[in-house]
Every structure is written in structure tokens, then in C-alpha cells.
């Protein structure tokens, strides 16, 4: 079943660090327009899964197919260009650049050395930056140095930077960690909005937030899938309650 209609198909994925299997024989599928949340206790291998998909960590065995293209052998930037975007756990933005520049740098043109040297700031670019800025609620802060943003705004900026690339699969690592309740709700709205026409893979701890957004949930435990399904099903699963929700 290597040829699928899924956006992302992970099969028998394993990675070990000096003998320790952080991800062990993982199988996971993500559909078009699906917002998939991965939960699990610390050390379950959630972030490692994202690392493996985006190429930051190389797998020991198994396959990751994105629209039927094998990702495990591709270099990181090719994976991104194929349409996979990834947000890091701590906001990873360019603090010395303005919000505008942060977004513009992420615009998917002029990605080669020569391209970047001859890149021109066309109306199209400006328009797109403005549109995305509005989407992530940063229109008023376009000329602000990114270092001066609040924690929540930094998270949004990074999401905005990913949206600039218009990825088909967007992966977010704990997007609401450290946010206020209001910011969290705004983020939930944001994610629901941007989930149109793309699939998303989100790691989150905040169960309230997960309930708000998730179409499907996978529970990881010690590098293996403990359970998968809708939020309601997961919440009823006894194994899950035992290792995770119960505490």
C-alpha cells in the first residue's frame, strides 16, 4: 500500500540513538485538509516524529511519503520546497529583522543563490506579505523589529512565515505553549482558518486546545502509537487514560 491518496503516509518508521529507539515502527496517515494532533507524555517521541518528517533527523528505517514522494532521503530544503512547513517549539524567527522582512524572507521565490541576489520586491510580494500579516494579526507591527514582539506574537509570526510558503502540510510544535487564554483562542481560530486547503500536523499538550481544533488525534507513548482516532474516542481509551490523561 505504498501508493496512497494520503498527503502524508508514515510506515514502519524507526529511529534509534545509540540503541535507544525514540520512534519505533510508527505508522501514521494524514488526509487532505485534515488537522491531526499528536499528543503524548514527555519523551514519547512527538518532536522526533516532526524532525524525521522534515528531515532534521534521519530515520534508521521505514518510509515517509508525502504525496507519494519519499522524504527520508531528501535534504531539508527540498522537503520544504515539496510543500512541508514546520514550526519549532520555541519561536524561531529572525530577531534582528523587522516583521515585514521576516515574512518577505520566507516568500518562496528567489530561493537559489542567484535568485536571491536578483530578487525584486514586486507588488505581488508586498501584497502577499500584507495579506499574511493580516491573517496572523500583525498588520500594525510590520515595521517593528521582531525581537520586540510578545511571545504569542512571535509564535504567530512564525506561523505567518510558514504561510508565506503556502505549504500543503503544515507542522506545528506546541503552537500555544506560553500563550494567554485569549491568545490561545485567537490561535485556535487562526489554525481553523488556515486549515482550508492544507493538512496540518500539530503537537500539543493543552487538552482544551486540542479539543477545539483536532479532527483526529494520535497518542504516542515510548515511540509507539498507543491509540488513534477522534478526540472523543481517545478520551475514552483506557490505556490512554492510564499513561497520560489520567494524571
Amino acid at each position: 500500500m505504498s501508493n496512497t491518496d494520503f498527503v502524508l503516509a508514515i510506515e514502519d518508521l524507526t529511529v534509534s540513538f545509540d540503541g535507544f529507539k525514540a520512534v519505533d515502527g510508527l505508522n501514521m496517515y494524514i488526509d487532505h485538509n485534515e488537522l491531526h494532533v499528536v499528543i503524548g507524555p514527555n519523551g514519547a517521541g512527538k518532536t522526533t516524529v516532526l524532525d524525521l518528517i522534515c528531515g532534521k533527523t534521519k530515520s534508521s528505517s521505514g518510509s515517509i511519503k508525502f504525496k507519494n514522494r519519499e522524504l527520508t532521503k531528501m535534504p531539508e530544503h527540498q522537503i520544504v520546497r515539496a510543500g512541508v512547513g514546520r514550526k519549532f517549539q520555541t519561536p524561531s524567527i529572525y530577531e534582528n529583522l523587522t516583521v515585514y522582512q521576516n515574512l518577505e524572507v520566507s516568500y518562496p521565490a528567489g530561493r537559489s543563490v542567484w535568485g536571491s541576489l536578483t530578487f525584486k520586491r514586486t507588488d505581488e510580494v508586498i501584497e502577499r506579505v500584507n495579506k499574511i500579516a493580516a491573517e496572523v494579526l500583525l498588520t500594525d507591527l510590520l515595521q517593528t523589529e521582531a525581537a520586540l514582539l510578545s511571545h504569542g506574537q512571535k509564535q504567530w509570526l512564525e506561523i505567518g512565515m510558514l504561510l508565506m510558503q503556502d505549504p500543503e502540510l503544515l507542522m506545528l510544535d506546541e503552537p500555544v505553549a506560553g500563550m494567554s487564554a485569549k491568545e490561545r483562542d485567537q490561535t485556535a481560530d487562526l489554525l481553523k482558518r488556515i486549515c482550508q486547503n492544507r493538512s496540518m500536523l500539530v503537537i500539543e499538550h493543552d487538552m482544551e486546545f486540542v479539543k477545539q481544533i483536532a479532527h483526529k488525534v494520535t497518542v504516542l507513548h515510548q515511540g509507539k502509537i498507543l491509540a488513534a482516532g477522534t478526540m472523543d474516542k481517545i478520551q475514552a481509551n483506557e490505556k490512554v487514560i492510564e499513561v497520560y490523561l489520567g494524571h
Binding site: Y94, L97, V105, P108
Partner: protein, 377 residues
């Protein structure tokens, strides 16, 4: 066209600073320095090429090369090889066992010109090789290291080791390279005597022109999207990589450009000073060049040029009057700059200029700098 000129000059502010620098180097110094001090200045200007390359590479790209002397030296050696061949015509070398080859080869029992010297019989070919050889070496080093993500201090240490290797090699292979003495006694460029007073002036102006062009090239790179990416990479390399950029390509490219700019400086050095020796290839000169860039301001192309001139004038002046104190001063200056003024002179200037009108202060600052140098001499 407007956008292009903007990028080359760096906007209004950059254009003014560049114009002032050009003014200082083209008009003020030549009018006011005697020919001896001017040819000394010419030598420092050749070092400024390396500083400019370091602003690009280190200030903006965060890549600290402790081996820029390699490229400066290679550029210089290429030029020197051409001039040496011209100086070693069969008539003026007739007392040698093998006339027509450089004197040091003859002393080392080499009886025919080695193959890698052949291309340096032609000036156009030499000029191409001055740019090509250092760039190619930078490409090889850069490709090997950046593709494997060697960065930070590892890159610095490895470039330093390469500088050491190259200088031992040049010293050891004296039959082919002139050894520790270097390639000396260079006289003419296509029959034009480079040692005369007029030649010194002409070379000085060519030198300054090339420096300004290099600054403009560097400026273009810094102000383009490429430059923004360099800064982005320096801060968050992962983020850039996961925004779909092949980070290593950018680093290789900027390393190559930096090598090429340094090589131009080296070639001009040979022309102005009249020889080239391995003492410009090794570790110490490479690090001194970093000092110059740091003092001027690692983020400022113009600042780095002033920094280079100041440090070197200071070095000359101090070693003339207080030779004992020079190393204390140099070491102390370096510690102070790194610890308290990481953005160097340019950083200090920026800090104070915000309270004043920019143009006026720029002019004042430059005048002061000129005056300070004047007082020192």
C-alpha cells in the same frame, strides 16, 4: 536602474558615507600625505579589501574565517609570479645557469619553468587566475565544510590550520615558490616600471577604485535578499533551512566572494609593495586582519576600512615610537573592542549619531578621523 544604484550605494546614508570615504582616499590623503606615507597608505588599503570581505563573511554571515590570509596571499602570489617572470627575462638573468627562469629557481637547481608557472606568462590569464584560484580554493573548502555543516569555531580552526599548511608548503617548496623570502625584486608590469613615483600614485588610485568597487559589490550583496538571508542564517540557521533554502549554497557563495575580494587586495599589495612573501599567508596576518575589521566594525563596510587604516597607522606609529607598547596596545585594543564595542568604531558612531543630524555628524566624524590620523603622523 534606480533600484540598482540604491543597492550599490546603500541608500542615501550609505551613499554619503561612501562619498566621504572616496573623498578622503582620493583627494584628502593624496594632497596631504607625502609620497612615502601615501604608499604606506596604499598598502593598508590593500588590507582593507580583506576587512571588507570579513564584514561580508563574518559580520553578516557569522562565518569567522581565520584563513583570509590564504586568499590574500594566493592573489598576491599570482600577481607576483607574473611580475617575476617579466623580471626574469633571459637578458637580465644571463649569469644564471638557466637564464630566463626566476633567480630562486636557478639557485634550487631547477632548469625549466615548472608547468604551473606557464600561465603566468600572460597578463590576461594572470588576472583571471588571480580571481579564479582563490575562489576555486574557497569553493572546495567551503563545499567540503558547509555541505557537512561544519560551522562556528570548527570552521575557524580548520581555516586556521589550512593557513598554516599553506605557509609551511610555500616555505618548504622554495624552488617553486621562493620560500621564506617570497617572490622579490619585482620591477615592471608590461614594461611599465612599478617602482617609480608616478607608478605609485597610479597604483594607489587603481587600488582605491577597486576598493570602492568591492565595497559596492559587498553592499549590493548585503542589501539584496541574499544579505537578508545571511543575517537570518547567522541568527537562526535552522529556520532558514526549514524555509526551503539550501543554507550551504549561500555560505559557499559568500565565502567565495570574500575570497575573491581578498585576492584582489593581495594582487594590489604585490603591485604596490613590490614583493610577496609567505608571511602574509599564515595565521598571524589572518587574525590581524580580523582585528582590523573588528575595530572598524564587523557590520559596517565603511567602518571596517577606517578601522583597517587606523589600526595599521597606529601600528606603524607605535612601533616607531614605543615598540615595547605596541603588542600591549594591539592586544588590549582587541580585548576592549570585543568585550565592550562588539560593533567597533561604526557601532560607537551609530550610537552617538542618533542624537545629531546624520549628514553633519558624518562629515564631522570623518574630518575628526582624518585629523586624528594627521596628528598621529
Amino acid at each position: 536602474m534606480k533600484a540598482l544604484s540604491e543597492k550599490l550605494l546603500g541608500g542615501k546614508q550609505g551613499a554619503i558615507a561612501l562619498a566621504i570615504l572616496a573623498m578622503v582616499l582620493f583627494v584628502i590623503f593624496p594632497l596631504w600625505l607625502d609620497s612615502f606615507r601615501l604608499s604606506m597608505l596604499g598598502k593598508y588599503v590593500t588590507y582593507a579589501f580583506v576587512s571588507v570581505s570579513l564584514v561580508l563573511l563574518w559580520g553578516n554571515g557569522g562565518i569567522l574565517s581565520l584563513g583570509q590570509g590564504i586568499f590574500f596571499g594566493l592573489g598576491g602570489y599570482c600577481m607576483a609570479m607574473f611580475l617575476k617572470l617579466e623580471a626574469s627575462d633571459p637578458v637580465s638573468t644571463k649569469i644564471q645557469t638557466t637564464p630566463g627562469i626566476p633567480d630562486f629557481m636557478d639557485w634550487n637547481q631547477i632548469t625549466a619553468l615548472p608547468w604551473f608557472w606557464e600561465p603566468f606568462k600572460s597578463l590576461p590569464l594572470t588576472l583571471i587566475l588571480i580571481l579564479l584560484i582563490p575562489t576555486l580554493l574557497a569553493f572546495i573548502i567551503g563545499f567540503a565544510m558547509f555541505k557537512r555543516r561544519v560551522g562556528g569555531v570548527y570552521f575557524s580552526i580548520i581555516t586556521q590550520a589550512i593557513a598554516l599548511i599553506l605557509s609551511i608548503l610555500i616555505v618548504g617548496q622554495q624552488g617553486y615558490t621562493g620560500g621564506v623570502n617570497g617572490i622579490t625584486d619585482l620591477k615592471t608590469l608590461l614594461g611599465w616600471d612599478i617602482r617609480t613615483e608616478t607608478a605609485k600614485y597610479v597604483l594607489y588610485y587603481v587600488n582605491v577604485c577597486l576598493l570602492i568597487l568591492s565595497i559596492m559589490l559587498a553592499r549590493y550583496i548585503i542589501t539584496s535578499k541574499f544579505g537578508m538571508l545571511l543575517l537570518a542564517m547567522r541568527d537562526k540557521e535552522e529556520r532558514v533551512r526549514f524555509s526551503g533554502y539550501d543554507v550551504s549554497d549561500y555560505k559557499i557563495f559568500v565565502f567565495c566572494v570574500a575570497a575573491m575580494i581578498s585576492a584582489i587586495g593581495g594582487a594590489m599589495f604585490t603591485l604596490q609593495v613590490g614583493f610577496m612573501s609567505p608571511s602574509f599567508v599564515g595565521i598571524v596576518p589572518s587574525i590581524e586582519m580580523v582585528i582590523c575589521a573588528a575595530v572598524g566594525g564587523r557590520m559596517s563596510l565603511i567602518g571596517a576600512v577606517y578601522g583597517t587604516l587606523l589600526v595599521n597607522f597606529g601600528k606603524t606609529m607605535f612601533s616607531e615610537t614605543y615598540p615595547e607598547l605596541w603588542l600591549f596596545l594591539m592586544g588590549g585594543l582587541f580585548i576592549a573592542v570585543v568585550m565592550f564595542f562588539p560593533d567597533g568604531l561604526a557601532g560607537v558612531y551609530d550610537k552617538y549619531s542618533k542624537n545629531f543630524k546624520l549628514g553633519e555628524l558624518l562629515a564631522k566624524f570623518n574630518k575628526n578621523t582624518v585629523k586624528r590620523i594627521g596628528d598621529m603622523l
